[in-house]
Symmetry: C2
């Protein structure tokens, strides 16, 4: 039995440390690690449980950590096993991931049924995306029931996360006035459930107004085929006071159940798998330009066309020929 | 002397029929034609004149044909040779190109100093873009002084055209009220000169208001480094009554002269050449997926990941291995 086979078995036997080691393996950039990671993934794919994959976004200050901790504690209290992953393409720049220290979720990180993993330090969203998808596969192999994928709303990261989860939560803070907060247009079309957090104390009435504003705005959106009546939906929660979390979880389950019964759940997972497969192939083709030889050829070709010595298509063909790529 | 060398010589000798034949060659999808086209382009690149490349956009009804005809007649009247090309990615669908029949510009098409070429029927904007860039090179080899590249505002076509011209004109019709017309946000950032057409008869006062609205809007845009004081600029013209065309041409020359003196003209051409070179290389790499063998592998991989038999990165690696592509 190879080391990889052993790791796969430990993972399927739900050994917590095996999961941490397996994720470290898929995060590694070393060629031999990559090979082992692929063998591992191929072996566990399709085994293990099918977790509910939940994407979660919200700008800094809306109380994401508090929400994840309270929500996660509630789920583990129900006997469910919860994994928390993060997609933060900015973590390499900012010098620390959004889940960098588990002190942010101290209680949850001590729960035996919970697993928290910070975002890896990678500059490319593509790299973070692949690692997160693969970590989800590993969490499912390890028998987790719920996988939460947290993201900050940086650039394309929300779209990327929505392409790897079954439902998407948008966490908001109560707004001051009656205007909708500066929520990016695209995210309203991604969100399945909008949760207005901090619906407690003196912010309660502001939260009520904000929730009602968003309910109104959601009703104006075109109905999506993957939604039952009443979705997407806006709700109030207070992560601090542990209020509304059970109601939110019930809505998530109602949505997931409906989508399962109507074929949307499986159809979406299939479409996501096909999408990422296509992206990975494209990425692999583009990687042909990353060798030192290819870089030198590209530089030479760029100089030739910039100087007007030839035209772009001819210079490109010459690079492709020398890279032994046949072209249309 | 090969046929291609002969064609190159005829082109450089400014033989009009050679230009038409050369463009037909670069439009062809046949592999042997493509090879001949590349040999031809490589031979003529850097020879011939450096034409002023002018992009022109405007929605149907603003009088684009009338403008091109009147503007082109004015230029040929000055002894300049004018080529008119078109980028219309929709022409394959609509069954006819926007310059499909030269009856649209009857007078100009009969001018010995003018050359009009309709958009090729290709479904991909990428294909139309390459053909148009190559046709521009051929027109310059054939000694044309001005190359007009017309586009309808469909999808990305304006961005594509702006990446292959020295200056970009936006043609507008007088608006009814004081609101800015439904001009796409991006195009205001591309345009160097906004021409409000139909500034004649009973539309004259509406044209004055529209022009002043746009002048105001342009002043709100951030100044671009490639613009002298006062640019981008809005002006009124009447293609029908031949008014304002000379003034517009003078502004174009003032802009081009300033950009030449300040290094922006050459810098932009270089950047454009580098950009298209990169795009052509990417396109060539992606073309590796278009063989029947690659399509079959892609289909098989997609089925495997959709069924959950493996994960996207593993399936992708398997396709890349079988296509003999080494991957990161």
């Amino acid at each position: 039995m190879t080391d990889t086979e052993k790791l796969a078995d430990q993972l399927l036997a739900q050994e917590r440390r095996a999961l941490a080691r397996a994720i470290t393996l898929v995060e590694s950039g070393r060629a031999d690690h990559r090979e082992a990671a692929q063998a591992l993934l191929d072996r566990v794919a399709g085994h293990g449980k099918q977790a509910i994959r939940i994407g979660l976004s919200g700008t800094p200050g809306v109380g994401k950590s508090t929400f994840i901790e309270a929500f996660g504690m509630m789920l583990t209290g129900m006997g469910l096993r919860v994994a928390v992953l993060a997609v933060d393409p900015s973590s390499a720049r900012s010098g620390g991931s959004i889940l960098g220290d588990k002190t942010r979720m101290e209680r949850l990180s001590r729960e035996p049924g919970a697993f928290i993993r910070p975002s890896p330090s990678q500059t490319h969203l593509g790299g973070v995306a692949r690692r997160t998808r693969e970590a989800v596969t590993l969490c499912e192999a390890a028998g987790f029931n719920v996988v939460l994928i947290e993201t900050v709303g940086v650039g394309q990261s929300e779209t990327v996360v929505s392409e790897m989860c079954d439902l998407f939560l948008l966490l908001l803070a109560p707004a001051g006035g009656d205007e909708l907060q500066g929520v990016k247009r695209g995210i309203m079309e991604i969100a399945d459930l909008i949760l207005v957090n901090k619906a407690d104390g003196e912010l309660k009435s502001a939260a009520t107004r904000t929730c009602s504003d968003y309910s109104g705005a959601l009703r104006l959106l075109r109905k999506r085929p993957q939604d039952p009546e009443g979705f997407p939906k806006a709700m109030m929660v207070s992560a601090l006071q542990d209020e509304g979390l059970k109601a939110a979880w019930d809505e998530m389950n109602a949505l997931i159940d409906w989508r399962r019964e109507n074929g949307h759940f499986d159809a979406r997972r299939e479409a996501q798998a096909r999408y990422w497969f296509g992206e990975e192939v494209k990425r692999g083709l583009m990687a042909q330009l990353e060798t030192p030889e290819a870089r030198a050829l590209m530089e030479e070709g760029a100089e030739d066309v910039a100087a007007g010595r030839t035209v772009p298509s001819v210079a490109a063909q010459s690079v492709l020929d020398r890279l032994s790529v046949s072209k249309d």
